[in-house]
């Protein structure tokens, strides 16, 4: 039986592994807030530098963090482009006419095909996406011969557009890096326990953080089991001729349903049996329980909290001044 890796946690040693999950959650939260309070590009750049320095101090594999950035790369590129195009404040930096002719169209089609092909045969998806976006700009700007399709239009980039787009991208980069560090160095179970303890005060308004944490930890425990189950069902269906990889979208959907229905039924049976097992071991929801896992704070946690607090205070001070 192969085990499925849940979350991004990688076992290791180093500063961030030794911190209490509560400290890490609080620190990440405070730092994120301060990142939003910084208003000048220099401040943000320094913050990015400090974040990188922290990664090095914590002996965190930078490549891992960059991999963590991948899923939001498209988002980053889009925010960048939209900020540049739509922000019309400050001085004009560039201004010129854009053309859209038959040849432009031809060039665009070629660029599109090139991009799709390169994505298929190489690994650098985002690099080529970026190149594709740049080539759209270049064609619109310089290819001005041939039959005009759309009348030439004016295109301008403003100062604020550039600063804001860099701003947004750096902010997002720092935030994602922070949260990646949190998930890389904290076991899912520790994370839930940290959340549970932090949300404990919410009991006054009727939020049962203990049950919440138990639900999360049981879900985490059953993910590999349910994966196994799905594999078995898929093999059972495949042995009777079902094909999950080919066919039209409609066929695929139908096949997914044939996978989901038995999985739901099995999950219900499972939860019934699990409830029985838990009850027979004297579990009563909402009753006080002792814990085998204990969270302990050390001087490191104090330091980390102090550090993030001072960053927050600094950001507030800078904003007020």
């Amino acid at each position: 039986m192969k085990s499925v890796i849940i979350g991004q946690y990688i076992p290791g040693k180093g500063l961030f592994y030794k911190l209490d999950p509560r400290t890490k959650i609080i620190a990440v939260f405070l730092l994120m807030v301060s990142v939003f309070l910084f208003e000048r590009i220099e401040q943000l750049l320094i913050a990015l530098g400090v974040a990188t320095l922290l990664l090095l101090v914590g002996k965190i594999n930078i490549i891992r963090v960059i991999k963590g950035l991948k899923p939001i790369m498209i988002l980053l590129i889009f925010t960048f482009i939209f900020q540049i195009m739509l922000n019309k404040q400050g001085q004009k930096v560039v201004e010129h006419d854009m053309y859209f002719t038959l040849f432009t169209l031809l060039f665009l089609v070629i660029a599109f095909i090139l991009w799709r092909v390169m994505v298929k045969i190489t690994k650098f998806r985002f690099t080529f996406f970026f190149l594709f976006v740049i080539s759209i700009y270049l064609t619109l700007r310089y290819v001005d011969y041939g039959q005009t399709i759309i009348q030439p239009f004016n295109f301008a980039i403003y100062e604020d557009g550039i600063t804001m787009s860099i701003f947004v991208v750096i902010r997002l980069l720092i935030i994602i890096t922070l949260s990646t560090v949190l998930t890389l160095t904290t076991k899912p179970t520790d994370l839930t326990q940290g959340l549970e303890k932090l949300m404990h005060p919410l009991k006054k308004i009727g939020f049962d953080s203990e049950s919440f944490a138990l639900i999360i930890s049981i879900s985490l425990r059953y993910i590999p089991t349910i994966f196994d189950e799905a594999n078995k069902i898929m093999m059972a269906q495949a042995s009777r001729g079902a094909d999950f990889s080919e066919g039209k979208l409609k066929d695929k959907l139908r096949q997914v349903i044939s996978l989901l229905v038995p999985m739901f039924i099995i999950a219900f049976i499972r939860s019934e049996e699990l409830a029985n097992a838990m009850e027979s071991r004297n579990f009563v929801p909402g009753e006080p329980r002792t814990r085998i896992h204990e969270l302990t704070m050390s001087y490191r946690d104090t330091l980390a909290t102090l550090f993030s607090f001072s960053v927050l205070i600094l950001s507030i001070v800078l904003k007020v001044i």
Binding site: S217, R281, N282
Partner: protein, 267 residues
């Protein structure tokens, strides 16, 4: 007064038919009881009513002087643990350690005591090297042993095995049976629900259930000689005993017959 007393116990899912029908049994402390019966004979229902998972329609269950009811279910469950059929569906913890601790956490055992007990009972079921392992990396037999350790750690002295060996491979099955034997030697009361007659032979007494009623409840040796009990409740005897029973009709084969008995009951 017996350790476990079941009096006039009935249970039904609907009004028409009783899944359990007027059950009266006494079980002594330290006894090993095997429960045999066909699918739908009420074996598992009996187990679930014993730990208070199902509420009986009529009748009383008294364990160590405490009568089971809504108020006392918590106390009863401290004394009685149940190992279910599917090893995966009773593993609550994220790791072996967490799972053994689960019952103790519910009983509010202090943390230091829990750590001691976890080590002690993990060693007892031979899972000490696996304390930090996740359930997905364990075999079915290992998971069942973790379940046993969890029950032992709660200081229960009655363990119900609800077809606990039926999803295991032959090797793990044999291993689990060996553990049950040592538990029995340590003085625990064992109630083993099973389909496997060879397993049932290890018990002190066998309870045969049929259509929710107690069909027979006698010492193992006595019940095995009575072919009628088995054929009329659709259970099959092991080949050796079948043979011994047919040889029993002729005094010439007395010696062979006794040998076969010995073989079947000691294996």
């Amino acid at each position: 007064m017996s350790y476990i007393e079941i009096q006039k116990l009935s249970y039904s899912y609907n009004e028409k038919t009783n899944v359990l029908d007027d059950i009266n049994i006494d079980i002594e402390k330290g006894e090993w009881i095997a429960v045999l019966g066909h699918n739908g004979s009420g074996k598992s229902t009996l187990a679930k009513t014993l730990v208070g998972l199902l509420e009986p329609k009529t009748g009383d269950i008294t364990i160590d002087g405490i009568t089971l009811g809504e108020e006392t279910a918590y106390e009863i469950r401290k004394k009685i643990g149940i190992v279910f059929q599917n090893p995966d569906n009773q593993f609550v913890g994220v790791t072996v350690k967490d799972d053994i601790a689960f019952g103790m956490e519910n009983l509010c055992v202090p943390r230091e005591e829990m750590l001691e007990k976890i080590n002690f009972y993990a060693k007892k079921v031979n899972m000490l090297d696996f304390l930090d392992k996740e359930p997905a990396t364990l075999s079915g037999g290992q998971k069942q042993r973790v379940a046993i350790a969890g029950i032992l750690a709660m200081q229960s002295d009655i363990i119900i095995f609800d077809e606990a060996t039926s999803m295991l491979d032959p090797y793990s099955k044999e291993e689990l049976i060996q553990y049950i034997k040592t538990l029995h030697k340590d003085g625990l009361t064992i109630i083993m629900i099973t389909h496997d007659i060879n397993e049932a032979l290890l018990a002190d007494r066998i309870l045969v259930m049929n259509k929710g009623k107690v069909f027979a409840f006698q010492e193992t040796e006595k019940i095995m000689k009575d072919k009628e009990t088995f054929t009329s409740s659709n259970l099959e005897l092991p080949v050796a005993l079948e043979l011994a029973n047919s040889l029993a009709q002729d005094d010439k084969f007395k010696e062979i017959r006794d040998k076969l008995w010995e073989y079947a009951l000691t294996k």
